[in-house]
């Protein structure tokens, strides 16, 4: 990058199933104010405002235009991006690009989703091929999650019991995070007894439909040092597309069973990790990284990504789970925020990962703070199993 960039402020709203008390404009404003307060700045200090979400989910045409007052974007530079579930990742990448361009001093990045004003089931399906897949009733995200779940079982990477153990860990982490939507008190038996959606995918394995917003302020090195006492640096980021097309001819998605053992579902995440590790001299991620905040929309994704992120050998995710290595007090804490299965406000989800990593690096996680010094964190967002944007954040440059 031309210039080094740091995160100088983060703000989140508590995840909820529904927020009837606020409009979309008011919702994003809560996150914006929180981020400004965290950065000890006012909106007048911001040069650029980048916004992202899935416009179809709320039915708002050109959402960033509608949100201008809530975003504090009046009179400022900026634009909107939308890259499916990866939106939270690409808006962050866009913010980093803006900050590194040398043209701006501060960039505010805001993601949100207000899913109580839309219906994901129908809208999600509208991402499918109109002729073949919608008519065939393909379930979009559920179908994709099932493909991952069945591939984990098929590879013997984990059992249903071990998945339940991971889910209980996620629930515990979520209940310690004040911004988490779900704060479930679960036992492994609860998970194993929950309804089967498509075996082995159960109801409790799946992320919720949340309302939340997240805002992050980034700045180039000089400004970050001037404005912020606790900048968290963006060491690197990487963005990749799997090149797969969501059509019936691509069995990876709609007919997931055709490739239950293949790496298709996690390809983007795996490639992004490989590239980032290579560029940043990471040869043993389990040792060198201090924590991971991931976009794992189901418990099975989390298990699958242990292997994709090279935290263990292929087919050995079960070992990590048995050792509890990905627990908050383990070697490589994974989703100590409770992760996506605790909160999923799609346009904000990827950005929540960044915010939570920043909080951990600063050591400000309160009840959810991991019991070790965090220097290097990996975060990523992924969308529709096609797009992935990953970033490495660090305490010192």
């Amino acid at each position: 990058m031309a210039e080094k960039v740091a995160v100088i402020g983060v703000g989140q709203t508590p995840g909820k199933r529904s927020r009837k008390d606020v409009s979309e404009v008011e919702l994003v404003n809560e996150a914006v104010r929180a981020a400004l307060e965290d950065a000890e700045l006012t909106i007048n200090d911001i040069d650029v405002v980048i916004q992202g979400n899935m416009e179809f989910f709320e039915g708002t045409f050109y959402t960033d235009q509608w949100l201008v007052e809530g975003l504090g974007a009046y009179g400022k530079s900026g634009l909107k991006v939308n890259a499916a579930g990866d939106t939270g990742g690409t808006i962050f990448a866009s913010g980093v690009s803006h900050a590194a361009s040398g043209l701006f001093k501060t960039v505010l990045v805001v993601g949100f989703e207000k899913q109580d004003e839309g219906a994901y089931g129908g809208i999600g399906m509208r991402s499918e091929d109109s002729f073949f897949d919608i008519a065939g009733g393909s379930g979009r995200a559920i179908g994709a999650m099932w493909g991952t779940a069945v591939s984990v079982i098929d590879r013997k990477s984990a059992t249903e019991e071990l998945a339940a153990k991971v889910r209980v860990k996620e629930a515990k982490c979520g209940s310690r995070n004040p911004y988490s939507h779900l704060k479930l008190q679960l036992t492994e038996q609860d998970v194993l007894n929950s309804d089967i959606v498509i075996w082995p995918l159960r109801f409790l394995h799946i992320c919720p439909t949340s309302v939340s917003s997240c805002a992050v302020i980034v700045a180039p090195e000089k400004e970050a040092k001037r404005l912020c006492r606790k900048p968290v640096w963006v060491k690197d980021y990487y963005c990749i597309h799997s090149g797969l097309q969501p059509r019936v001819g691509e069995p990876w998605l709609n007919l997931g069973a055709a490739y239950p053992t293949g790496p298709q579902f996690r390809w983007g995440v795996e490639q992004a990790a490989i590239a980032l590790y290579k560029r940043n001299g990471i040869v043993n991620p389990r040792k060198q990284l201090d924590l991971i905040e991931s976009y794992s929309p189901s418990t099975w994704h989390e298990i699958d990504y242990y292997e994709a992120l090279k935290l263990c050998e292929p087919g050995e995710a079960w070992k990590l789970i048995e050792e509890e290595a990905t627990w908050p007090d383990g070697d490589i804490p994974y989703d100590v925020s409770g992760g996506v299965v605790s909160t999923n406000a799609i346009g904000a989800t990827g950005l929540h990962r960044v915010a939570e990593t920043v909080i951990q690096i600063r050591g400000e996680g309160g009840e959810r703070q991991v019991p070790k010094d965090v220097n290097l964190g990996l975060t990523f967002a992924q969308g529709a199993d096609q797009f992935c944007t990953a970033a490495i954040l660090c305490k010192t440059l």
């Binding site: 235009q65 509608w66 400022k76 991006v81 090149g243």
Partner: protein, 388 residues
């Protein structure tokens, strides 16, 4: 700027009312293939020296495609496999803006950008209605056309702009379009024809407006100075960029002004070192879906003072024979779809500077302005300054 960014190839489809024989992606692929062929570039991971495209960008909005994650459907046509990607929810000019930022950031070197809209497969009015706030304005059935009519009324009554002055924009643009092989609707019309054409939303008549339905796509490739010089002997430099957002509620704005355009222009001019646009810019491609917009935007772009857009038009400065021709291509009024429109302005401006504009060429053009906007009544504007 720490790096210089160049446009090394541009292409567009012919704009038509209905490209029903082609699917969205196939429409987009035509200009994409052209820019790849023009430059001989391929994708970075397929090259040995890393000299290839390392980023793809699109501009698209879910409502216009009628499905969520709209960019899914197009990214493959840009060669998405292993590529860094993003999709700008806004006008295509903003996608070019983002491509410039990406290169300036040092993270990417070569960016392929494409935009496609098939208005024939969507209802613009229905999508645009979702732009307005859901409680107070949406139930009125507002769309860009009716909101623009409010803006036109306010602007014309405040500054005494006449319908005749607005109509001259349509006459000039439709005539210019006769020289543009890509234009959808070149026409020989007079001011009287415009005034007598069917009234859509007073004071905007059918000929004051762009054709109601347009399909088409355009593509371009941006790269760094070093690489541009190896790829082409006609690099077009992007020397200034600026964008800005205004308030959302129409009632919060004085619609007779265009504050966000003034600010976007200021940013672009100061970056490019422009102080006297009429002297320093040879040709302008301005986004206007309705005739009054050119008059108002001319003020915002600093071509004339506030309220002088009508007189500016009458002086003929913006004609092909004038000092600074505006829209030699015929502009959006001769037919460009939403989303593609602003990027088509960049493509046209670059074509002018490359001296490849054929019958619509502005002789000796060395610098050009391209402009795009997103949102009703021009809520957000984007201005780019291009030089030879």
């Amino acid at each position: 700027m720490n790096r210089k960014v160049a446009i090394v190839a541009v292409a567009q489809t012919k704009y038509e009312a209905n490209k029903s024989s082609l699917w969205q992606g196939d429409v987009a692929y035509e200009p994409i293939e052209k820019v790849l062929q023009q430059t001989g570039l391929t994708y970075q991971d397929r090259t040995k020296n890393g000299f290839g495209i390392d980023r793809i960008l699109t501009a698209g909005e879910d409502h216009l495609v009628g499905r969520t994650c709209n960019s899914f459907w197009i990214h493959h046509y840009l060669g998405a496999y292993r590529m860094s990607q993003d999709n700008i929810s806004g006008d295509g000019a903003f996608a070019v803006y983002h491509g410039v930022i990406d290169i300036l950031s040092g993270h990417y070197d070569t960016v392929l950008i494409a935009t496609i809209t098939k208005e024939s497969e969507t209802s613009r009015a229905a999508a645009e209605n979702c732009y307005f706030d859901h409680i107070f304005l949406q139930p009125f059935g507002l769309d860009y056309l009716s909101a623009s009519a409010l803006q036109a009324r306010r602007y014309m009554s405040k500054y005494g702009i006449s319908r005749e002055q607005c109509a001259q924009v349509a006459v000039r643009n439709r005539a210019n379009a006769k020289n543009n092989p890509y234009a959808q609707e070149p026409l020989d019309i007079t001011v009287q024809d415009v005034l007598k054409s069917e009234m859509l939303a007073s004071p905007i008549s059918a000929l004051d407006s762009k054709p109601p339905v347009s399909d088409g796509a355009c593509a371009l490739i941006l790269t760094t100075e070093e690489k541009a010089k190896k790829i082409t002997d006609k690099p077009i430099w992007i020397d200034g960029i600026g964008n800005c957002r205004d308030s959302h509620y129409l009632g919060d704005r004085d619609l007779s002004d265009c504050d966000s355009l003034v600010m976007a222009t200021k940013r672009a001019y100061s970056m490019a070192g422009i102080t006297d646009p009429l002297k320093e810019i040879d040709v302008a491609e301005v986004s206007e879906e309705y005739t009054y917009q050119e008059l108002l935007w001319s003020e915002g772009l600093g071509f004339c003072g506030k309220g002088e857009g009508g007189k500016f038009m009458e002086k003929g400065i913006s004609r092909m024979s004038g000092k600074m021709p505006i829209n030699p291509s015929g502009g959006i009024l001769a037919g460009n779809p939403i989303g593609v429109a602003g990027m088509a302005r960049v493509v046209e401006a670059a074509t002018q500077l490359r001296g490849e504009a054929g019958a619509r060429q502005v002789e000796g053009a060395k610098s050009a302005l391209a402009h795009g906007y997103t949102g009703a009544c021009g809520q957000s504007h984007c201005v780019l300054i291009l030089r030879k």
